[in-house]
Symmetry: C2
Subunit: 113 residues, 2 copies
DNA sequence: TTTCGACTTCGATGAATATCGATGCGGAAA
DNA sequence: TTTCCGCATCGATATTCATCGAAGTCGAAA
């Protein structure tokens, strides 16, 4: 099952206990968020006007090697938080807001909490 | 700085890029959520009428050793997602809804997304 | 006091991961 | 074609982590 679909059929934490499959899927995405570098990358992409950032801009924001940034981008892409598109020599990354929204819903909306 | 306070002053991902300190604090909590067992534990506690669960009830829901469950409970407690209280021979765990709410707000409310 | 049960802590181990340098690849320019 | 640049992949390494058995703690009961 695709990851976003699995998120969509995972109930909020406080509604009913997650089963093992749901928990495994949701945990994959939260694990991707559980790294400060990846969180900052995601934030950089999310804040950008136009919604897309090229890798060189992200690399420039950290004192980390380019392969390391590439690794983190791959992790974020694998769990459905980012998409990428190559245009000419550059690769542009975009946010997938649906995935973030599903996560937020699983945690429970602030109003309900 | 205490973790919940750091969450409170961390902007939503899409508002402005997280700085290193904010990202480190937020990542700690997401990392705790990035394990399927811990997610299920959290869900079990969140769903429970009365809001509290004793360790033996949680242990009984998994095919894992009791020290392993205790380890996961400690992780969830250290990042401010659970609190515990001992009464007689039993230890009861409760959810900290404020922490979940802060996380949800950082991801961005579903309506805004 | 001794015993017992619920739970935590400790120590060890195998697996996962963050990081990097070196290398590969794809496209554009020369 | 050759060269160069942006980015991904590979291989290696040091660290982190999930898990468990053994041992410790704490409170209640005997």
């Amino acid at each position: 099952m695709e990851l976003l679909q699995l998120l969509e059929c995972s109930p909020p934490l406080a509604r009913e206990p997650l089963n093992a499959e749901q928990a495994a899927g949701v945990a994959r995405v939260f694990k991707a968020l559980g790294d400060p570098v990846r969180l900052r990358i995601l934030s950089i992409v999310a804040c950008r006007e136009g919604g897309e950032v090229c890798v060189c801009d992200i690399t420039g924001a950290f004192e980390l090697s380019q392969p390391t940034i590439s690794h983190h981008l791959k992790v974020l892409k694998e769990v459905g938080l980012l998409t990428s598109e190559r245009r000419a020599s550059w690769v542009y990354y975009r946010l997938v807001p649906e995935t973030l929204g599903e996560l937020s819903a699983i945690l429970g909306t602030p109003a309900v909490v």
